[in-house]
């Protein structure tokens, strides 16, 4: 028995067996999904692996506490700036009282008494970490005569009216803390690097660290729910005009993106179902096949997901969202098969024979259609991204299952008894068009060819340029509160742009110290040379155990009793009040202890209070594992071009220090060549595959040439439309070209394969062109509905695909068909149009 007859026999005579097989398949798939489903919510896994910058970003996201930061901004009217300044501390207190808030930074720590006290608590290890010459010079200040001289001088300056002695004596009565903090101070200028108030004073920024357990989407959503509740009540105590309370940060973005993704999936799925159902009903006036098609597609998704899970063990959430594409693609097969089946039924053929006819007539076309699409998506594996690999494999699997199920399972939903044929205006129109264009192809070609050629010229022309948007903004939801907050902060504080980060992992603290000393010196040279704007490193906090030990030994030469006595008497003789200098006596005791007591010094991390604002600085540099550290480079301009990125990649590394350069802007810029390669190379590979396949399939160079020209012009028309409509390409919607090539080629295959085998040209070709039009329209609607997605990348993908498919469909109908006709002799065309068997009017 031939395959098409066997399928027809099974789905009509052995329905129970087929249903049992489906039930078994469903049960197995559901079992796999329930027992093994693990969702990977890491958006970064969508970016290609093998890029240092991407891996760096993942490390930074995973290992550094800063990813738990939330930035709040209060924005008031210009008349209320004084009120805002008064309200700021109240707001900071409210933040501190929140159960989700671990720490708050509302001003430069050095300007608060707590900040100074906290700094004094870690002064000892910082002092012992000074380089030998600086350490010798600093501890020389502990000689009795130097102590007396210094206090006398400060007293004189105080008398002379200088503000400096008061500051100096408050922070550092002995004069040894300031030199110890000098290396640290160059990094401690949080206020300078990231100001906490705008110049016009209408905005104040508050940095917080949250205590969310993980940085996953669910925890981010939970946190942001609490934050929103806080935002709603945080105005209490404010008596000025309108006050905006804004919040941004990774958690805010992740919560928004994950929620908007859920919204997008629901909305676009409902939109797709509505539009696809509408087009199907308009085309065929039947509901049962529509329901059958939906359930069959659901089965495809279920089995593809289960198989994908068996292969990958976990699936990216975004990948599952993209499975909506599968529905758009699978619908084509259902419409084609049903169109052919219905045509046979309308011709009076019975249920089983009509199924056999549909499978026989379209089996090859659907097989090759599925093959081209599957290969197109499998090509995503070349992108090197875990997320894209999953997406490619899932859709390739899904489309293969769709090809199989639409030619088997789908028929189970079709009624054995066919309703009476009714007038099919669409088929009649298509048939008339086919007949006209086959008889007289020239008029249609004279319209379509110049139009497509003009669009091709526009596509190749440098003007207007195609917009390539690789900014981080291109990846945030259209209506994003976090994005608005960030934009407002950036607008009011233009100096705040994202730095490039250099991540260094070391084997031990000594190596960490040595590496950062080298890096800091090198980056300082770059800053002096004007190649970078500024930088900050953990050099001052990456302590050297070797140096600590050496300096402790040097401390033993100090006579602390004499120093203490000299300090005491200098205080008295200069008329200072003794209680002002209590911290100095504590420090003298600590230094004495460090000199005389055996064993290691306590870790400075344990000395710094957990609530201290200085942790904002420490957490910037140190991961949970203190041997994983990062430095920051603020570039002269935000990183946006390849030249900038190349310069940074060339200049920032230091010989002998393994460093990973990263940061969002840096990474996205780094990925631009990858994205271009995706666009050009892989799309070209795909085109070569398509061209080869078509050559094998048609074995007719004229048809081959026509379809290759169709594909080329359709893609060019898509590019031209995107240029003219100013639709930007981004890192994800470059996929659209592959999709359009994969699906667009199918339309031609369906039409030309039937063309080659047609017994009566207008009848047979119209029998496939109508479903192709319907399939094309459903795909355009399906992808077009992605345009309502909140996520611009998804919406961009939808628009680009809808445009590309529109041109593929239009080129197939208005160029491929008349061109195929024009390629044949007139006599052959006339002969092919003659009816061989009488057909009812509607078919």
């Amino acid at each position: 028995m031939r395959l098409h007859s066997l399928i027809a026999h099974l789905v009509t005579q052995r329905r129970g067996f087929v249903w049992s097989a489906i039930a078994l398949l469903c049960a197995a798939s559901v079992y796999i999904l329930v027992t093994r489903l693990k969702l990977d919510s890491e958006v970064l896994n969508l970016l290609p692996s093998g890029f240092e910058s991407v891996e760096g970003l993942k490390v930074y996201n995973r290992d550094f506490a800063q990813v738990r930061d939330l930035t709040f901004a209060l924005v008031c009217q210009p008349d209320d700036v004084d009120k805002l300044e008064e309200f700021g501390p109240q707001f900071a207190e409210k933040l501190r009282a929140q159960p989700w808030c671990t720490r708050v930074l509302s001003g430069a720590p050095i300007e608060t008494p707590e900040g100074i006290r906290d700094l004094q608590s870690i002064a000892l290890p910082l002092l012992l970490n000074l380089e030998p010459a600086a350490f010798d010079e600093t501890i020389s200040l502990l000689k009795p005569e130097k102590i007396a001289e210094r206090l006398h001088r400060l007293h004189s300056e105080l008398e002379a009216g200088s503000p400096r002695p008061q500051i100096e004596l408050g922070l550092d009565p002995l004069g040894v803390i300031a030199p110890a903090l000098k290396p640290f101070a160059s990094n401690a200028a949080i206020e300078e690097d990231q100001p906490l108030a705008s110049r016009d004073r209408t905005m104040r920024v508050f940095l917080t660290v949250t205590n969310q357990p993980t940085i996953g989407a669910i925890d981010c959503q939970k946190l942001m729910q609490e934050v929103k509740a806080f935002q709603a009540n945080a105005h209490e105590g404010w008596d000025g005009g309108p006050l905006q309370i804004l919040v941004t940060g990774r958690s805010a973005y992740v919560a928004e993106i994950s929620l908007s993704m859920r919204h997008d999936i629901v909305v676009t799925l409902l939109g797709s179902i509505f539009l696809v159902g509408g087009v199907f009903y308009i085309g065929f006036h039947r509901w049962l096949p529509l329901i059958g098609m939906g359930l069959t597609l659901l089965l495809c998704c279920l089995v593809a997901l289960a198989t994908g899970l068996l292969i990958f063990h976990q699936l990216n959430m975004v990948t599952i969202g993209f499975c909506a594409i599968l529905i758009g693609l699978g619908v084509d097969f259902a419409i084609l098969v049903f169109g052919r089946y219905q045509q046979a039924r309308d011709e009076g053929i019975d249920h089983q024979a009509a199924i056999s006819e549909a499978v026989k007539g379209l089996g090859k076309a659907i097989f090759f259609g599925a093959l081209t699409t599957a290969v197109g998506f499998m090509a995503l594996m070349l992108a090197g991204s875990q997320g894209f690999t999953q997406l490619g494999v899932l859709i390739a699997l899904g489309i293969s299952f769709a090809g199989i199920f639409m030619m088997t399972v789908f028929f189970l939903f079709l009624p054995r008894k066919s309703s009476a044929p009714r007038k099919d205006w669409m088929f009649a129109m298509v048939k008339n068009y086919v007949r006209w264009t086959v008889r007289r192809p020239a008029p249609m070609l004279w319209i379509s060819t110049p139009l497509l050629l003009i669009l091709t010229a526009i596509a190749f022309s440098p003007k207007p340029p195609i917009i390539f948007d690789v900014s981080t903004h291109s990846m945030e939801p259209k209506r994003s509160d976090a994005g608005y907050a960030l934009k407002t902060i950036m607008a009011k504080m233009p100096s705040r742009w994202e730095p490039v980060i250099g991540i260094v992992r070391t084997a031990d603290p000594q190596q960490s110290h040595d590496y950062w000393q080298k890096v800091a010196a090198h980056w300082n040279d770059l800053q002096v040379a004007g190649k970078i704007k500024s930088f900050s490193t953990p050099a001052a906090l990456a302590l050297s155990p070797r140096r600590l030990q050496t300096n402790r030994e040097k401390l033993r030469t100090i006579d602390f009793v004499a120093a203490r006595t000299a300090f005491d008497s200098a205080i008295a003789s200069e008329g200072f009040s003794r209680e002002t200098f209590d911290s100095a006596f504590v420090l003298l005791d600590q230094l004495n202890g460090a000199a005389t007591l055996p064993g290691e010094l306590p870790d400075w991390r344990t000395q710094l209070p957990q609530k201290s604002s200085w942790w904002f600085l420490v957490d910037r540099y140190f991961a949970h594992d203190p041997l994983l550290t990062t430095g920051f480079v603020t570039t002269n301009e935000p990183v946006a071009t390849q030249e900038q990125k190349e310069m940074l990649r060339r200049e920032l590394p230091v010989e002998g220090v393994p460093m990973v350069l990263s940061g969002w802007s840096f990474t996205l810029t780094d990925l631009v060549p990858w994205s271009h390669r995706q666009l050009i190379l892989i799309s070209a590979l795909m085109a070569v595959f398509d061209a080869t396949l078509l050559a094998l399939l048609y074995r007719d160079w004229r048809l081959w040439l026509i379809q290759v020209a169709t594909l080329t012009m359709a893609v060019c028309a898509m590019i031209a439309s995107m240029k003219l409509l100013q639709l930007p390409l981004n890192l994800l919607n470059v996929l659209a070209f592959r999709l359009v090539l994969a699906i667009g080629v199918d339309y031609g295959i369906y039409v030309l394969l039937v063309w080659q085998k047609a017994r009566q040209l207008d009848h047979d070709v119209a029998g496939v062109v109508k479903p192709v039009i319907l399939a094309g329209l459903t795909a355009i609607c399906g992808f077009g509905s992605l345009g309502i997605a909140n996520n611009p990348t998804l919406a961009g993908l939808g628009y680009a695909c809808a445009l590309g498919l529109f041109w593929s469909l239009a080129a197939t109908i208005f160029f491929t068909l008349p061109a195929a006709a024009a390629a044949e002799p007139r006599s052959w065309r006339e002969e092919s149009l003659k009816p061989r068997i009488p057909h009812p009017e509607n078919v």
Binding site: R153, E157, G161, R164, F576
Partner: protein, 215 residues
């Protein structure tokens, strides 16, 4: 002596100035300052600092040019020269051959301090920066200024200015939140023109220059 002081109290009792009169008084001061935007005077200062057990006394001469240029030369055991052109502040210590340089207008706490000093000398637009209350006394006026701006409040708790009937500043008292207090009395006021070079400062050769708050 005690009874004389007791008897004198009713004679120096002060009357609060109504808001309208205060406004008129400030307008008069402004008018006078506009006519002669510069002033020079001798001063005597007593500074009570919480770090020191005894107050610091100093004296010298000051020059002021509206809106924000000033020069102050203190004599005595710890002489100093303080010069500001509105953008930079220099404090020079001849005894130590050292100088401190501060950049103004960078939102440092120093800006609020300088604003407080110039407010007493200038009294222009003080209503925008301070809540003002005034009293009329037999020999002039007493203005009580409290900062509106929180950054100023961190530096200055209250500021009182005593003016004579010619509206010349004769005494100021500055109280800081940490308890430090500076009382300055002025005499021999003159409003003759001051050469621009008075408000310029170049450290003498060999001076050790520091930037305590950075550049």
């Amino acid at each position: 002596m005690a009874s004389l002081v007791f008897l004198a109290v009713p004679l120096v009792s002060a009357e609060p100035v109504s808001p309208a009169d205060l406004k008129a008084l400030l307008a008069r001061i402004k008018e006078k300052r506009a006519a002669a935007p510069q002033v020079q005077a001798d001063f005597q200062e007593e500074k009570t600092v919480h770090m020191l057990n005894k107050p610091i006394a100093s004296s010298g001469k000051m020059w002021f040019q509206s809106p924000n240029k000033f020069r102050r030369e203190a004599k005595g055991n710890s002489p100093s020269i303080t010069v500001s052109d509105g953008q930079h502040l220099w404090i020079y210590y001849p005894k130590f051959k050292s100088a401190e340089h501060y950049s103004l207008g960078k939102r440092s706490p120093l800006d609020a301090g300088i604003a407080a000093i110039t407010a007493s000398l200038n009294l222009e637009n003080v209503e925008g920066t301070y809540h003002i209350a005034g009293t009329k006394e037999a020999d002039g006026y007493q203005l009580q200024l409290t900062p509106r701006n929180p950054s100023m409040k961190r530096l200055l708790q209250s500021f009182s200015i005593r003016l004579n009937n010619e509206l010349q500043v004769v005494r100021t008292e500055m109280l800081q939140p940490n308890g430090d207090r500076i009382i300055t009395t002025y005499s021999n006021e003159s409003r003759t023109p001051i050469p621009a070079s008075t408000f310029e400062f170049t450290p003498p050769a060999g001076t050790d220059v520091t930037n305590p708050l950075g550049k």
